[in-house]
């Protein structure tokens, strides 16, 4: 690994112009502008790079190693050389991909809004019940293997539809107690 300044709280300070240019060249090879999408070289601004390296300071050293001058200035030859350096190559790819896909403009273009909080409407009748998909499963009867016979279980009076199951006298309603939580607001 080439001599480099020690890790710093300023994530960007870990890359001077040489490595920064090499990073851009690699980014342009891995994720070029195409199919209506921008290139990673254009998206991977100082802000994006700093964001990634602040979240993952452990990537700084392998990223430096992946961008060391000894590997030359041709990006494809650099990638070929890094094929035998899994950690360094992995860090390089992750920095580029993470910088790209945490960019709001890129997310908008691929239709990804992020991991959203979506209310669970447990009171709604599920579509699989509406479509009779559960009835089809129940109609085939028990699936479990009875350990006393070694064969598929036979359960007298097993419900063959979900409606039968709901009104079955063998099943209870929900257990008492426990549901004393807040309203989730």
């Amino acid at each position: 690994m080439s001599a480099q300044p020690p890790a710093t709280t300023d994530a960007l300070a870990v890359l001077d112009n040489g490595p920064r240019d090499r990073l851009a060249a690699i980014a342009d090879v891995l994720i070029p502008a195409a199919h209506g999408m921008p290139s990673a070289a254009d998206v991977l601004t100082d802000d994006r790079l700093a964001f990634v390296l602040r979240a993952r300071p452990d990537l700084i050293e392998p990223l430096r190693a992946a961008l060391r001058p000894e590997l030359g200035e041709d990006p494809q030859r650099r990638l070929d050389a890094l094929a035998s350096e899994a950690v360094n190559l992995g860090a390089l790819q992750l920095v580029i991909v993470a910088g790209y896909y945490t960019d709001k403009g890129v997310r908008d273009l691929i239709g990804y809004p992020g991991q959203m909080a979506i209310e669970v409407k447990s009171w709604l009748y599920p579509p699989y019940l509406e479509e009779g998909l559960i009835d089809a499963v129940l109609a085939r009867g028990p699936v479990w293997r009875d350990p006393t016979t070694g064969k598929r279980a036979v359960v007298e009076g097993a419900p063959r539809t979900y409606e039968e199951r709901t009104w079955s006298t063998t099943a209870s309603t929900a257990a008492e107690g426990g549901n004393d939580g807040d309203d989730g607001a």
Partner: protein
């Protein structure tokens, strides 16, 4: 305070430790728990932040060898195609587990009798059933009652099922078309407000902690109640060994704090709840003149018979958007169609299928599980075709016990406290390989029936050792088992093991539901036999 003797010392504050701690504290026992990790604030979990996928690959990785946090210990897994996964904290691996909550099935406890391989358990499904109901209530389980893959229940899950999403519905229709079993998955994730915790919001970041507290983890479901009943939970406390006296009884544990200071916690009873790698590691570390091969190891089986459920992934890609980055990670639906033995298939036992969400854009854009790398202009087409367009069948193969699959102490690797690390030796059996190959083909048929335009297969995923089982098996014969049917060590009458180490066979389902039911049963037995319990003078 640290030296106050305990009635019961629990080592490990995860799933089984939480269950035993809560139950014994409620019963009036003076409980102390030593946990090498710490408490987490759910507001700090990364799932609500932009850097979530970045953190999930390091700080919140499921492998301790990748995280390398101060509370983690390294595991030499170089002799295994499967990497063991765990988390060290109050709540243990329940912080990062998916929350899928299937029970072991009746046949799982009778593998020798039914299929002529491995061993029968000394207990059965029906004996565990009342404990399943109680742990379902304590953890908070959502599910649709009536799954015909199981015997009829007399008590339903406490909450209605979680949604199965567009991907779940698509695959459910395909399974129905094929005439194959499927069912909405039971998850220990709230679908409604429950026990002071909020409902799931489908964010799908379950494996890096649940920001809502909707997924059950014992730091929320059990330890606060145990502490309210007087339990003392000591964090950042790494146990070095269990001590014994001249009578061969456990007297407590020596532990090391984060500053490196050594302490001794005396106790009348010691309960190990440190998972099927941490527990045998501690038993082996506790060797003495009286127990030269490790504590509770007269059978020679401590650390042996490690089982981890070889795991394959079959991903289908669909033209229409499914928004499959959302949804509980615990599983949307499951199938047990091919779970039971059919010898015509060329192997015994079977596998459970669980359909899971597919992850965010960083996971999608990087070289995939199946090894596919697409860079250059087509990278964009790859991401567009994969992100939110996939459905993943995860296939958990039953892992039969093999004494060659084992946990030992490393002679070269130590943890941050200088304690020998565990090393594992594990290979996948031919039976499991044939089993996974069969199930992969059937899962591909399921995806084809659903209309997938492309199917990608990962035939054995390395970072899939979520289910650590079998390294201190229970049984009636002290020559062939470490624990008795009540989880008590045959050799040490005041030592219990309540984690997945006790499993005789692995089943083919996610084991946490079964682990905690067995742990609760063991705790009940400790209470019932408290006046006959042999303790050090």
């Amino acid at each position: 305070m640290a030296n106050d003797p305990a009635d019961v010392l629990i080592i490990g504050a995860g799933a089984s430790g939480g269950v035993v701690g809560k139950r014994l504290a409620e019963a009036g026992f003076k409980v102390v728990c030593l946990e090498q990790g710490d408490w987490h604030d759910k507001a700090d979990y990364p799932g609500i932040r932009l850097d979530w996928e970045l953190q999930q690959r390091k700080q919140w990785a499921t492998s301790p060898n990748i995280r390398q946090l101060p509370q983690d210990y390294p595991i030499d897994d170089s002799d295994s195609p499967v990497a063991p996964l765990m988390y060290n904290a109050v709540g243990g691996s329940t912080l990062i587990f998916a929350g899928a909550w299937p029970r072991a099935l009746p046949s799982d406890f009778r593998v020798r009798s039914l299929d002529g391989v491995a061993d029968d358990w000394p207990i059965d499904y029906f004996e565990l059933l009342p404990y399943f109901y109680r742990t379902d209530r304590d953890f908070g389980v959502s599910g649709l009652p009536g799954d015909p893959a199981y015997p009829p229940d007399t008590e339903d899950a406490p909450m209605p099922p979680l949604p199965i999403g567009s991907a779940g519905l698509k695959i459910a229709r395909a399974q129905t078309k094929l005439g194959w079993h499927w069912w909405p998955e039971f998850n220990s994730i709230n679908s409604t407000p429950y026990d002071g915790r909020r409902p799931c919001v489908q964010r799908s970041t379950c494996q890096s902690g649940c920001n809502e507290g909707a997924k059950a983890s014992t730091d929320q479901t059990h330890w606060p109640k145990a502490i309210a009943n007087g339990a003392r939970l000591v964090t950042n406390a790494r146990v070095r060994r269990i001590e014994t006296n001249a009578d061969g009884l456990a007297t407590g544990a020596t532990w090391i704090d984060r500053e490196g200071h050594e302490h001794f916690q005396p106790a009348e009873v010691v309960v190990l709840a440190a998972n099927a790698i941490g527990t045998p590691r501690l038993l082996l570390l506790s060797a003495s003149d009286r127990h030269p091969d490790g504590l509770a190891n007269s059978s020679g089986l401590v650390g042996k018979r490690l089982m981890m459920h070889p795991f394959a992934n079959v991903a289908g890609l669909f033209e229409e958007p499914l928004m499959s980055w959302q949804g509980q990670f615990g599983d949307l639906i499951e199938s047990l169609e091919f779970y039971e033995t059919d010898e015509k298939r060329g192997f015994v036992r079977g596998a459970r299928w669980g359909l899971a969400p597919t992850g965010g854009p960083i996971n999608t854009a990087l070289p995939s599980r199946a090894g596919e790398q697409i860079w250059g202009p087509d990278h964009h087409l790859h991401v567009r075709s994969h992100l939110g367009h996939g459905a993943n069948w995860g296939l958990f193969a039953e892992d039969l016990p093999d004494e060659a699959n084992r946990v030992e102490l490393s002679s070269t690797v130590t943890d941050g406290s200088g304690i020998p690390a565990p090393e594992i030796h594990y290979s996948m059996a031919d039976n499991a390989r044939r089993m996974l190959d069969f199930h992969i083909e059937r899962a591909k048929e399921s995806m084809e029936a659903a209309g997938a335009f492309k199917i990608e297969v990962d035939r054995l995923m390395r970072f899939s050792g979520w289910h650590l089982l079998g390294t201190a098996r229970m049984g009636d014969d002290p020559k062939t088992s470490v624990l008795d049917r009540w989880n008590r060590a045959h050799d040490v009458p005041n030592l219990y093991v309540v984690d997945g180490s006790c499993f005789v066979t692995s089943s083919g389902v996610n084991p946490t539901s079964t682990i905690v039911a067995i742990a609760l049963r063991a705790a009940d037995h400790m209470i019932e036999t408290r006046f006959n319990q042999q303790v050090p003078a």
